[in-house]
Structures are given as C-alpha cells and as structure tokens.
Symmetry: D2
Subunit: 82 residues, 4 copies
C-alpha cells in the first residue's frame, strides 16, 4: 500500500514536471523510474501470491492446482510482455 | 497531461483494489495496464522530442547534434530496459 | 528444443540480413521477433518448472519450499526486467 | 556482425544446456542473458540508423523527414513493448 501511495506521488510529480515544461529527457528518466517501481510492486505481489494462493492450491492438488498454476503463468506472461 | 491524470487515477484505483483485498491476479492485470499506459505516454513524449529538439539539433549540426542524438539514444535504452 | 533450433535459425537469418545490407528498420523488426520467440521459450520453461520442481518442493514443504519459491521469484524478476 | 555471431553461439549454448538437462533456473538465467544481448544489438543498430538515415532525412525535410521519423518511432515502440 505504501508503495502504491509512493507511486501515485511519483505520477503527480510527473504532471508537475510536464506543467513546468521540464526538458523531455528528464521527464522520460522519471517515467522509467515509475515503470520500475510498478514492476517491483507487481513482482512483490506475485511472490506473495505464489507463496500463499498458488502454494495452497498445489498442496490441495486436482483441478484447483491446474487452474492456479495456469493463472499465475498467464499473469507472469503479461508482466514479461508489458 | 490528460494521460498522466488518467494514469494517476489508475494508480489510485490500484490502491482501492488492494484496500478491498481484490484477488492478486486481478490486481496484477491492472498493474500491467498501468505499465502499458506509462509506456504509451513515454513513447509519445519521445516522438515529440525527436520531431522537435532532436530534429532541430540535427539541422543545426555540430556538437549539439551529437549531444542530442546521444541523449535520445540513452533515453531509448532506459525505456527498452525498464 | 525445436523452438531453440528455430531461434538459432532466426539469428542466422539476422546475420544474412545484415550481410546483405538490409534496411535497418527491417532488421530491427526481425530482432523484435527473435526477442519475442526467446520470451515465449522462457515462459514455457518457467511453466514447466513451476508445474514440476516448484510444485514438488511446495508439497514437500520446509526449507526446500522456501528455496524453490525464492529461486522462481528471482528468475521471474530477471525475465520481467530484461 | 560479431555480436550476432556471438548471439548465435549463445543460442547454441542454450540447446546444449537443454540437451544436458541443465536445471531450468540456470537455463532461464542464460535466456535472460541472450535477450539482453539482442537488445544491445538492437539499440546499437537504432543509434546508427538515427545518426545516419534519420539525420539525413531530417536535414532533407519534407515528406521523407516525416516518414523516417514515423518509422523510427514505430521501431522504438516495438522494441519497448517486446
């Protein structure tokens, strides 16, 4: 949650930079920083998801195991490709 | 500017999802959407930068040309790698 | 294995394009195709790894479970960031 | 050209790793290395393209300038998104 609030602050910072006509390249450097912060947040969420939901489903076995593994795999593919 | 305001709204939406204990995978889908929105914003800024600052510097030639091309190239590398 | 052989063929195709002085933009389009093929290969490997090694370790529990989850998480982070 | 030959060697190395049943995670680490090598090659090509073709078209002006800027921008978008 703290991370997302910080990211929201970074996006507001971007708006300020644009409003103040900051040099494009400096805005782009900031955009890359926000993108990396979002990725870190996503990777942390994914870790927790694998250590809890996916682990539980794997222990349970059966159809739920398949479903959760497929779901995690699709989410990872979206992160890798975005 | 409108784009950044929309992205800020998306990040606030993410906080709401987390606060409401939304299923991790659905949060992650949203994070991928925000990342893509940030990338589109960055690509649009880069386009404008190349069509204005870089073009002007190229027309001017000399040291300024070298400096602007190098700067743009570094910004592109940061975007590709983030 | 077939996938990797096809990727090797694509990389050789890139060398041919460069040797024949193909227009840069067309070479770059091909490079993006090879990068996507490599990503698909990595995602498929990761899927199999999670459905076998990680699942087994999770079922086993204890230290091995922690180690395998951490390892998978680090591999995902490398894929997302590369 | 040397870079692409090295990348071809890396892809053959990947096939060897898979054939020898190397641990998935170690294969994935190698895949990330090849992806980064391809990205570096693409970024270098793009640099040269901007310093030559795009620069020339910008100096020339007119329709050719528009076309080359648009083409470069599309290629950058493909790299950022792949």
């Amino acid at each position: 949650m703290m991370r997302l609030r910080r990211i929201e602050g970074q996006v507001r910072g971007l708006q300020r930079l644009v409003a103040e006509d900051t040099y494009c390249i400096d805005v782009l450097t900031q955009v890359s920083a926000v993108t990396r912060a979002l990725q870190s947040f996503a990777l942390q969420m994914l870790d927790e998801h694998m250590a809890t939901c996916v682990s539980d489903a794997v222990a349970e076995g059966g159809e739920e195991r398949e479903r959760k593994l497929k779901e995690a795999s699709d989410a990872i593919a979206r992160l890798v490709r975005s």
